[in-house]
């Protein structure tokens, strides 16, 4: 087996072409799984005996909510690594993740609202789960605007990292909110321990959609990361001169 020097890819110059090569391997399976998940969700999964057809919102609502939370933790980890080790690529990754994480959090709030109206009779209620998820969205927005507001990139990354790390405390609060407080929001659909309470096709559709969302997230985060690399490193030597490896320049010329 060929030995791979992983440190090599911590450099934006080396990571750029690598990221370009692996994006299709995430984007294409994501599209296939979205179609498969929706097929199972709408044509295989049975009607819910309590909620009728309205429950079918779950196939996007739950994956979006999970993505919003998990991407936040991932963003905080990358921001922390970037800050602690002065790793540029890591900070860029955190910036790239923040947009997709915010998108998924917003999506979970919008779909939740569309689900709340027919089942609870209201678009919004200030219960613990909904409120803490709204705070998650504000944390993302805070991170994004903080980075945009500070001109000095290093300081922007540092400030963002502090905000991201402090905000991590909100993620377990969201997760356990349905147990800790009396909420209108229903309890966890899937628990790490114990049997799921859903019919197998419903569960399958949800997990296929979750996998699709993950693949989608990796693809868009990498595409954005490439944009960020070029924008931030455009004055660095490697981006001005052709480098030995298949460089971004050769790639740009081909397209």
């Amino acid at each position: 087996m060929a030995k791979i020097n992983w440190y090599k890819y911590a450099s934006p110059a080396n990571f750029y072409p690598l990221a370009g090569k692996i994006i299709p391997w995430f984007a294409i399976p994501a599209a296939i799984l979205f179609i498969a998940g929706l097929y199972v969700g709408f044509f295989v999964a049975p009607t819910d005996f309590q909620q009728g057809e309205a429950y079918r919102i779950i196939f996007i609502h739950v994956p979006a909510a999970w993505m919003g939370m998990l991407l936040y933790v991932l963003m905080a980890i990358y921001a922390a690594i970037g800050w602690a080790f002065n790793a540029r690529l890591s900070s860029m990754m955190a910036s790239s993740i923040s947009i997709t994480g915010a998108m998924f959090t917003l999506l979970s709030l919008v779909t939740g609202s569309l689900w709340g109206k027919p089942t609870w009779g209201t678009w919004w209620v200030w219960d613990a789960r909904l409120t803490s998820t709204l705070i998650l969205l504000f944390l993302y927005i805070g991170f994004i605007s903080l980075q945009a507001a500070i001109d000095d990139q290093k300081r922007a990354d540092k400030a963002g990292a502090v905000l991201a790390i402090v905000g991590v405390i909100n993620v377990p609060i969201i997760y356990f909110s349905v147990d800790w407080w009396n909420t209108l929001h229903q309890g966890a659909t899937i628990r790490l321990l114990g049997k799921p309470t859903m019919a197998p096709p419903m569960l399958a559709a949800m997990f296929i959609m979750l996998a699709a969302c993950w693949l989608y997230a990796v693809a868009v985060v990498l595409v954005r990361l490439r944009h960020i690399i070029l924008e931030r490193e455009q004055h660095a030597a490697w981006s001005a001169e052709p480098v030995g490896q298949p460089s971004w320049k050769a790639e740009e010329a081909r397209t």
Partner: protein, 55 residues
């Protein structure tokens, strides 16, 4: 199951299809923004004089 029954979603059409429309708008919007960002970058690279005529 016929199609009109399918699209009516047992009376929840607005909520169910609204959710998936929101998904399409948000995810599609994200992809579109990234594509536009890429296009802009191409243009900027072309417009930088020092990079012209090289490579």
């Amino acid at each position: 199951m016929n199609w009109s029954e399918f699209f009516s979603m047992g009376g929840y059409a607005f909520y169910v299809w609204g959710s998936y429309l929101a998904t399409l708008i948000l995810m599609g919007g994200e992809v579109l923004m990234l594509l536009r960002r890429g296009k802009k970058r191409h243009q900027e690279l072309r417009d930088v004089p020092e990079r012209q005529g090289k490579n």
